[in-house]
Symmetry: C2
Subunit: 161 residues, 2 copies
């Protein structure tokens, strides 16, 4: 029942954007360095987030990303849906037909209730709230990050929250 790195890394990216002064751009490469996530992988993740429409991207030199909407209007249900693909705890909740089991499915009601519960929690949780909740200073880590030497031969990335 673990969430994938896609969701976790995507969240971190969004939190960086939310912590940014409005109007400014944040580059993907910089976030990848600071969060110690593979840049290529983070690109994929950010791309999955694009259809939601919460990102504003500027291409070319000096480009980067910014939030297209205020953080208070971005809820976690939407974000999770795009990053994780789906939230439902069992597959047949999302694929129309109520599974080919004869008669009524004994556990369906339970899974539906659990699904509703999760979604409600996520829907009422905004990026704004998350950003306020975490009282870390993004600048502190990045200041030291410059001194990091990449270990040649072999990925140095470690799974994070």
């Amino acid at each position: 029942m673990r969430f994938s790195t896609r969701t976790r890394y995507g969240l971190r990216f969004l939190l960086r954007l939310a912590a940014q002064p409005p109007g400014s751009l944040l580059q993907l490469g910089q976030v990848a360095r600071e969060e110690r996530i593979s840049p290529g992988y983070l690109e994929q993740i950010v791309r999955a987030l694009k259809p939601l429409g919460i990102l504003k991207a500027v291409r070319g030199t000096g480009g980067g990303y910014a939030l297209a909407r205020p953080a208070s209007e971005i809820n976690m249900e939407d974000v999770f849906l795009h990053l994780e693909g789906e939230i439902a705890p069992v597959r047949c909740l999302t694929t129309k037909k109520p599974c080919t089991h004869e008669g009524q499915c004994s556990t369906r009601a339970f899974w539906q209730a659990l699904d509703r519960h999760m979604r409600e929690f996520l829907r009422h949780c905004t990026l704004q709230e998350m950003s306020e909740q975490c009282n870390n200073t993004p600048g502190a880590a990045s200041a030291r990050a410059g001194g990091q030497r990449p270990i040649p031969g072999g990925s140095s990335y470690v799974e994070l929250h």
Copy 2:
């Protein structure tokens, strides 16, 4: 974020037990037939449930399973913990050290809140409630199940809720 078949099939097994008249035994093979789950696989799942102590097993001819405690005293948090291994949405919530990230982790508080939320829902959901919630008649399906001919060569099991 899907739950595995272990948890889903395990739940179905427990629901069968809960629907059984108290004092009687239910055989694993029979449940497997009626629920169309591989008997061998269901055995593994039931075994994972044993350490919880909610099952009473009788070996030998005429043996079977029964609930060792009333269904009203069996909550889903315990059941899920044993079937799924862990519930936590991210790994570092269960492995002591708060991940090697420099400074405070920006998303940790959120994952903890989500974890608490899920657990609370599951803890307050008892097998009794689930059993009452599902108004299907387990006997109806099993009556017809006798006529099933197993398809030779190739598993005929299909994933269920």
